[in-house]
């Protein structure tokens, strides 16, 4: 009897943990859908129709809301994370591509690719507070932990713009390599890493001096230099590794966050762009646009465990915090 009870309990526990497994939300740029992956089961459990040309996707810190840039609809969709039902739209300015929430989820900063602007939206009033003219085709958005410094990259101007979030004005512009896509602060805010897709490099900038301290290049035997196109950047919070998605090189570079040396290249699907960690940072997901799948990577073993088929041209990915 006791045995059955234990068995039942463990079964229940097992079930509960699997219910609590994190979900990953993937925007499929050409399908106008979002695929939901159960990371525990490594399976797509739901596909939902969303606005036109969905690209950037993020979640509120409490995990209740999913925000999606519907680029061709010129607005941001806010959906319920559980049901994925549309709750409301946020104004975004034309062609929103990537965005970031302030630490307390009060303010949303949106890069308007078609419009050379960063739009600032009040999440409570659901109104545009301001817009900041930046370089041509803004995309990457990085924010310090205290939310005081925003870094935006502009793809055609080839700059990282440092913006003071109190005054909403640009304080400094740093030239980087061609077509910068993503800006990401290290966990301690001591560095900001900027990937340059066409330049084929990652520049490490010191946010206090605004000086480029390192330029990281990539060399992969058997892969021509032109197809090495860095996009997505993710740092582990223990300061050990940084993962950089290399686009049509079909690989993710694992970089030692301290020494900037390349540790390993992980072979994933075709044209890998954006990356996301699970909250425990044991698992990393990548969107592979051309092979229409998502790679699931074991961070401890630095090994690709599985690829999961999603919609057409998966672009962005976000993982629920709880």
């Amino acid at each position: 009897m006791k045995f059955i009870f234990v068995a039942l309990m463990s079964f229940l526990c097992f079930n509960l943990t699997s219910v609590k497994a994190n979900l990953a939300y993937i925007t499929n740029e050409k399908d106008n859908t979002v695929s939901v992956i159960d990371i525990g089961k490594k399976k797509v459990i739901k596909t939902v129709k969303v606005g036109q040309r969905p690209r950037g996707i993020i979640m509120s810190k409490d995990g209740k809301l999913v925000l999606i840039c519907a680029s061709d609809d010129d607005r941001v969709e806010v959906r319920d994370a559980k049901t994925l039902k549309l709750k409301y739209h946020l104004p975004s300015g034309p062609d929103p591509e990537l965005f970031i929430l302030s630490p307390d989820d009060d303010v949303l900063y949106i890069a308007n690719e078609d419009d050379a602007m960063v739009t600032v939206v009040d999440m409570n009033d659901k109104m545009i507070i301001d817009d900041i003219p930046v370089g041509v085709e803004p995309e990457g958005m990085g924010l310090t932990n205290n939310g005081k410094t925003l870094v935006n990259t502009s793809e055609t101007t080839n700059m990282a713009h440092f913006i003071n979030t109190d005054t909403l004005e640009i304080t400094e512009n740093v030239l980087v390599d061609a077509r910068p896509r993503v800006a990401m602060f290290t966990p301690d805010d001591s560095e900001v890493w900027v990937s340059a897709e066409i330049g084929g490099t990652v520049k490490v900038i010191n946010p206090s001096t605004k000086e480029v301290t390192h330029t990281i290049g990539f060399e992969i035997p058997g892969v021509n230099e032109e197809s090495i196109q860095p996009v997505g950047v993710r740092h582990t919070s223990d300061g050990k590794y940084t993962f950089v998605a290399l686009g049509p090189a079909n690989r993710i570079a694992v970089i030692d966050q301290k020494t900037k040396e390349i540790v390993k290249y992980l072979l994933v699907g075709q044209r890998v762009w954006q990356l996301a960690f699970t909250p425990d940072q044991k698992t990393l997901l990548s969107t592979n646009g051309v092979s229409n799948d998502v790679s699931i990577i074991n961070v401890d073993k630095l090994k690709v465990e599985k690829s999961v088929k999603v919609g057409r041209f998966p672009w962005g990915v976000v993982i629920s915090p709880n």
Partner: protein, 422 residues
């Protein structure tokens, strides 16, 4: 009753399909909405009175765009409007891009548009601009006109960007260190096409050449390409009918194309005088490639990869029409100037020229890889699109064409074959 029901179903289907296909390109309505939103945002911003980041201006660069008034050719296709503003909007967008970047660095850019009228003399007008101290020229001119410019004394002290002429001679025996060719040469286009046809194993060609001089030059490039890649030209004919084919093509083309066995009909007809009338009328059922059908080009309205959608949208929003190759070349030329000045922080002609020709120069130009200039002849190195009128088919260089420096150099005359001496 039943018929009516099916008709309704059909319309519903057609409607939903049209909705689906529209999702990639912005509709005119969407473009208008964005324009309106732009205006409103601008007004709101002005009302808030916030200052825009602007560094003190240290360099002001003046760029001149030159085009020429031409005889309008007789309209053979009723579909495409004849454009008199090619290049204009390309330059305009690029100047805006340069200014946006320049604002953060203290670099200013000015542009002058010069259209040389029929009664005006190109050489004299150009001299006047040089006397005014202009140094950077983006020109929409043909081979003969470019050769005229080369004779002007002191021309080596300015930089010229060629946005139209495809002649290989300009990149070889007539090359100049200060003339940069954004437009791909005939031999680049021919090799881009041949690489794809080889991939398809369509190695037996029927080559039809039009009556114009440039048609012959393109055909020569195609023949050289065929030789280079070991393709057989089974039949070669010149099209010299002068009649308007709109009513008689059905009779003429089958007889013209009857003969030896071939895989693909290759056409060199740049003016589009007869090429469009070949499709579906050949004696044997064969695809058409070259200047019609599947066409190699530097830019096409179906191009949407690598951020090209943004460019297409921005261009259409500005001009209300599709971007042409000359528009794209003009954009690239002005951006190349901007990118160089951004990096070297100088607009000294010799410094700019050396940087453009160096391996340090690289520009993102919506082609997936950076574009750069061949140091031995000033030709822009870029992927070539292979597109049918309404679909992108492939992008060359094709996979497997390997080169020690850049795979883009598998197209056109490579350094060892080049007769250009700077």
């Amino acid at each position: 009753m039943r018929a009516k029901f099916f008709l309704i179903i059909f319309f519903c289907l057609a409607f939903s399909l049209s909705l689906n296909t529209d999702s990639r390109e912005l509709s005119i309505q969407q473009l208008e909405e964005r324009k309106k939103a732009d205006r409103e945002r601008k007004e709101a911003r002005e009302k808030r009175g916030k200052k825009v980041f602007q560094k003190e201006i240290t360099i002001t660069t003046e760029i001149v765009f030159i085009s020429k008034e031409r005889e309008v050719p007789p309209v053979l296709s009723n579909l495409d409007p004849i454009l008199e503003d090619e290049g204009f909007y390309g330059v305009k967008l690029a100047i805006e891009d340069n200014l946006t970047t320049g604002r953060f660095l203290g670099h200013d850019y000015k542009i002058e548009f010069h259209r040389i009228l029929k009664q005006e003399n190109l050489e004299n007008e150009f001299k006047k601009l040089m006397e005014k101290g202009r140094k950077f020229f983006v020109v929409d001119l043909n081979e003969a006109e470019l050769l005229t410019l080369m004779k002007i004394p002191g021309i080596e002290n300015v930089i010229i960007f060629n946005t139209r002429a495809k002649n290989d001679s300009l990149r070889n025996e007539d090359c100049r260190k200060n003339i940069f060719h954004i437009s791909p040469s005939h031999s680049i286009l021919a090799d881009a096409l041949t690489q794809y046809l080889i991939k398809k194993k369509w190695k037996k060609w029927f080559l039809v050449t039009g009556p114009k001089k440039t048609d012959k030059l393109y055909a020569d490039a195609l023949k050289k390409s065929a030789k280079k890649f070991n393709v057989k030209i089974k039949e070669e004919k010149t099209w010299d009918f002068t009649s308007d084919l709109r009513r008689t093509a059905g009779k003429e083309v089958p007889i013209f194309t009857k003969g030896s066995s071939y895989d693909v009909l290759v056409v060199a007809d740049e003016a589009g005088e007869f090429g469009e009338y070949l499709a579906y009328r050949t004696w044997d059922p064969r695809p058409i490639v070259g200047t019609q059908g599947l066409r190699p080009s530097s830019w096409h309205r179906t191009h949407e990869q690598w951020g090209a959608t943004q460019m297409q949208n921005r261009f259409r929003r500005e001009s209300g029409r599709w971007m042409t190759e000359v528009d794209y070349h003009s954009w690239t030329a002005v951006r190349a100037i901007g990118e160089t000045i951004t990096r070297i922080k100088s607009d000294d002609v010799k410094k700019v020229q050396n940087y453009l020709l160096s391996s340090k120069f690289g520009l993102g130009a919506y082609k997936g890889v950076k574009v750069s200039f061949r140091s031995w002849n000033g030709q822009l190195r870029q992927p070539i699109l292979l597109a049918a009128p309404r679909s992108m088919v492939s992008v060359s260089p094709q996979e497997g064409y390997i080169h020690p420096f850049s795979e883009l150099d598998t197209m056109g005359k490579d350094q060892p074959e080049s007769t250009c001496k700077f």
